[in-house]
């Protein structure tokens, strides 16, 4: 099984497929498939995540979860094989059922859901995003409507909008709906005492940590952000015999002797906001590629994407809860103070506490969920960054990819080993909560 499509070519292929459908619609046959609608919109969502300045990785993960739930519930209400998540996800009340005896078109419903979803979640994007959303929405609307009876279109669109309205109302109360100043608080009291996080950037905005309250957000599948706690990191010490010093020395020495392969790994998983679909978006690209390759139907796509979205969203909430509980300083702070004043990192150090590693936690969660959905030792090729000139990488399993994502942060000089290894384990715990959801009847 491979995923070789680049983002642009895949998007065009979907568009081409839809265009073909448009031609056939001249024969008054509703041939736009629900699965094509989901995939096309998700690719736009991934672009919008990359190009909307508030979309740091935690914020991106939240949007993936809610969009996923909306798509899933819109389909589940008319599916004999999908079971609603209402009652299973925290705070999600039962959604309105479809009217008995009425005809609906899933493609039209999903298009309405996703058009409203991008407006709700990306209404703050820039003028180009707005420009694209407007044109993309109009084109897709025309395509899914073609060949569908007017009454069915009206009924389906109204239902889709009702589903998304329900989801939007639910989302509004989770604590993560309002992002100000790109997630950086205007005021924040740094924890006093050695070993705690201090700013590592000379960017004015980043003198405060990103999203310090994110760990208090309502979770989806697990009880709360503390549901998968971590032991404390190695005790802070500047003693060369201490475990803390040894882990810092490992980072410093590793980064000074990086092999080309290690540099490649660090950059492959860098997944910087505004320059990539972010870490949770990276896993979304992987999943979408796999679903396209297996020609999955809409129910399967919705099942995979909702579970993955929930896993990474809960992953970031759990991770952030732990980050601000332990509030550990970054390697660059420690190493420059204690080991090497001129030490430089390969990657830019993110502006928030170190322990655990966010990419590790959410990658661990994603890997656990995708393993359940696609199988153990499922080999795949990840070409998420092909358009950015970064070569695809092959992995023997999802967990192997998660482990590489984790260790990439040590190569990049932004995490100690404990944050990576325990972050992955935290992710495993969080992913199991998602796996416990019952989506199939």
């Amino acid at each position: 099984m491979t995923m070789q499509l680049t983002r642009r070519s895949a998007m065009f292929m979907t568009a081409a497929a839809l265009s073909t459908s448009t031609v056939r619609m001249a024969q008054a046959e509703p041939t736009v498939k629900a699965e094509d609608v989901i995939i096309a919109w998700y690719k736009l969502v991934l672009e919008l995540v990359r190009h909307t300045p508030t979309y740091s990785p935690p914020v991106a993960s939240r949007s993936f979860a809610y969009v996923g739930v909306a798509v899933y519930e819109a389909l589940a209400s008319g599916s004999s094989s999908l079971r609603t998540l209402a009652g299973q996800l925290n705070g999600l009340k039962p959604l309105a059922a479809r009217e008995p005896g009425q005809q609906y078109d899933n493609a039209v419903i999903l298009n309405a859901v996703l058009a409203r979803a991008v407006t709700d979640f990306f209404g703050n994007t820039g003028p180009t995003g707005q420009h694209v959303m407007e044109r993309f929405g109009a084109k897709r609307r025309d395509e899914v409507r073609a060949g569908v009876a007017q009454g069915v279109v009206a009924q389906s669109e109204a239902y889709g909008e009702a589903v998304m309205a329900h989801i939007a109302e639910w989302a509004a109360s989770d604590g993560g709906a309002k992002i100000e100043n790109m997630g950086f608080p205007y005021e924040y009291q740094l924890t006093k005492g050695e070993g705690h996080w201090v700013p590592t950037s000379t960017i004015g905005q980043q003198q405060m940590p990103l999203l310090p309250d994110w760990g208090n957000n309502r979770t989806f599948a697990m009880k709360n952000g503390a549901a998968c706690p971590l032991p404390p990191p190695p005790a802070y010490s500047e003693d060369p015999a201490s475990e803390f010093y040894k882990q810092a020395l490992e980072v410093q020495q590793t980064t000074k002797t990086l092999t080309p392969e290690q540099k490649t790994i660090a950059r492959f998983w860098s997944d910087d906001p505004m320059l990539s679909p972010t870490p949770p978006g990276h896993w979304m690209w992987i999943a979408i590629g796999l679903l396209e390759a297996e020609k999955a139907n809409a129910d399967r796509i919705a099942d995979v994407l909702v579970r993955l979205g929930i896993a990474v969203a809960d992953g970031f909430i759990g991770c952030w809860a732990a980050k601000f509980e332990h509030d550990l300083l970054r390697p660059v702070t420690y190493i420059r103070k204690v080991i090497d004043p001129k030490w430089e990192t390969l990657l830019i150090t993110p502006p928030f506490p170190e322990y655990p590693s966010g990419h590790s936690t959410q990658s661990g969660a994603a890997a656990v969920v995708l393993t359940q959905l696609f199988g153990e030792n499922f080999a795949f090729v990840d070409s998420t960054h092909a358009r950015d000139g970064i070569k695809p990488r092959a992995f023997p399993s999802f967990w192997a990819a998660a482990e590489e994502a984790g260790i990439s942060r040590l190569y990049g000089g932004i995490h100690f080993r404990a944050a990576i290894e325990l972050g992955l384990e935290q992710g495993r715990c969080i992913g199991l909560h998602t796996n416990a959801l019952r989506t199939r009847t």
Partner: protein, 536 residues
């Protein structure tokens, strides 16, 4: 009437203040600006929707040989506005709309440059569509010269421009920075179109077909700069990370007769990815090498060489000193809107004539982006004696919260004080006269040389006054879609004179020119004496 414009008054006040001038005691002197937009007759708006979210330049240059800078303001989808400067020396600003031939539509910005070295200023008009070179005919009349000069204007979304005269070239090399592919309506991201390099043809009297600068990453500003004092300028390009894939900030090595070549990590070039929007250069930290201010969103960068080696051969590795210098300018400094800022045109100039260069930044939301400040005041960051900058835009009276884009800080009324024009999107441009009463002394001069490159683009200027050295390059480019040509201004503080050295293009440093404060002068290559000049 400004203090210190007359040497006798300056001496008197200096004596009264016992060697400690009032303007230097409590930090930088706050300049005063008076909005004279309406009275001066400026009525120009940068119009248009998506294709005009960037651009909106101003060009200031003298096209009728009276010494007063005339003004071109980009109109976006509407025609440009050309204004003849009808101000009198030291008086209120006055501009008169005249038909110049420059009144084209779809113009995003413009840069004055005497392309054919005939002593009459020409101008390059950047456009959404075909770029046009306009030949100056004298008396502020212009005609299209694309065909006469074999300039292929192309069809792109052009925002940035810079020019240089390569070694021994009789004709300039012009770089054009292009933005996204505007036909990619469904997926504009990743669609950056090629920048172009228009070099001289074999005969050296026209342009050769342009060379694509591959890779290109959606340039919004560019300038030629002799970053390593080698005598050869390189092309710095500031790119908008919103649209590129795999991109970064760039610098191109441009050696005569050779294809352009990117500086890479192997050369020491450091990876930087920002929403690059504007560039300005000046040797801010007096290390002898140009520094670069890069405008962006929610952050701005001030780059200086990471290491200045003893052998004088640095690698192109830069560190950001914006935070240390107090010029991050990342959010509004006045009003209640604290959301992140959006920076565009930027320029280093000494607005209070204290001998310390200051920094101006035009601010404005891209287009109702709710995560960024809607009321985003322009910045005027004044340098203090400790090398750090403090914000004074509100106190100086230029903290406009209109949606700014391009601009120019120019002495429009030739009184030794730099005035200010800002182009706004969807709203009228703004013009402020510098009416500071407590500014220091100043000098203004122009460089000229015979033959090609008459305005000595590529020269480096060093001004010594009062024990300090100020240093900057003369170049065509930078800012945001906005160019200037003409008087070069330095503040002198309380000092009565300055020594000016010029490293003329492709030459060694000149002997010092002795200039007295508060005077205009012409410095001609090959002549040891500066020629005094006075506005009529």
């Amino acid at each position: 009437m400004k203090l210190f414009r007359s040497p006798s008054i300056a001496v008197l006040l200096a004596t009264l203040c016992a060697g400690s001038p009032a303007w230097a005691q409590d930090g930088p002197v706050i300049p005063a600006f008076t909005d004279e937009t309406a009275a001066a007759g400026i009525n120009s708006t940068y119009e248009g929707q998506w294709e005009y979210m960037v651009g909106g330049g101003a060009a200031a240059f003298d096209c009728n040989e009276d010494g007063f800078p005339d003004l071109l303001l980009a109109g976006g989808e509407k025609p440009t506005h050309f204004y003849r400067n009808a101000s009198s020396s030291g008086g209120a600003l006055k501009f008169v709309t005249e038909t110049s031939g420059l009144e084209l539509g779809e113009v995003t910005g413009g840069y004055p440059i005497d392309i054919d070295s005939d002593g009459v200023m020409d101008i390059v008009l950047l456009r959404v569509g075909e770029n046009v070179v306009m030949r100056g005919l004298g008396n502020c009349k212009f005609e299209r010269a694309n065909e006469a000069w074999d300039f292929k204007g192309g069809d792109a979304w052009s925002i940035a421009m810079a020019a240089t005269w390569e070694k021994n070239a009789a004709w300039p090399t012009i770089a054009i920075g292009n933005y996204i592919d505007r036909t990619e309506e469904m997926s504009p991201w990743g669609s950056c179109t090629d920048n172009w390099l228009h070099r001289p043809d074999a005969g050296g009297t026209k342009f050769a077909p342009p060379v694509a600068l591959k890779p290109s990453y959606c340039a919004l500003s560019m300038l030629f700069s002799d970053w390593d004092n080698s005598g050869t300028t390189a092309l710095r390009v500031s790119n908008d990370r919103e649209y590129y894939e795999g991109g970064q900030e760039q610098m191109w090595r441009l050696l005569p007769g050779k294809p352009p070549e990117l500086y890479t990590e192997a050369d020491g070039w450091k990876y930087l990815r920002i929403w690059g929007m504007g560039v300005a250069t000046y040797d801010v930290d007096a290390d002898g090498y140009p520094d670069y201010f890069l405008t962006s969103m929610a952050d701005n960068k001030l780059q200086t060489l990471a290491n200045v080696p003893a052998d004088g051969k640095p690698s192109p590795s830069y560190k950001d000193i914006a935070y240390a210098k107090g010029v991050t300018a990342h959010r509004p400094y006045t009003g209640t809107d604290l959301r992140p800022s959006t920076g565009w045109h930027t320029q280093f100039e000494d607005v209070n004539n204290d001998g310390l260069v200051d920094l101006f930044i035009v601010k404005g939301n891209v287009a109702k982006m709710p995560d960024f400040a809607e009321k985003d005041p322009n910045n005027l960051l004044l340098q203090g004696a400790d090398g750090k900058f403090t914000e004074a835009g509100d106190k100086a009276g230029i903290a406009s919260v209109l949606v700014g884009r391009g601009g120019a800080m120019v002495d429009f009324n030739l009184d030794g004080l730099l005035d200010l024009v800002v182009v706004n999107r969807w709203e009228n441009a703004q013009l402020w006269r510098n009416t500071s009463a407590t500014a220091g002394n100043w000098i203004e001069f122009r460089l000229t040389q015979d033959g090609p490159n008459r305005d000595a683009s590529g020269a480096v200027i060093e001004v010594k006054s009062g024990g300090k050295v100020m240093r900057r390059e003369v170049s065509v480019g930078g800012g945001h879609a906005s160019g200037q040509a003409g008087w070069i201004h330095f503040g002198l503080g309380p000092n009565e004179s300055a020594e000016v050295r010029v490293r003329w293009p492709n030459a060694e440093w000149s002997a010092p020119y002795a200039l007295k404060a508060n005077q205009f002068a012409i410095l001609k290559r090959g002549r040891s004496e500066a020629a005094a000049w006075q506005p009529k």
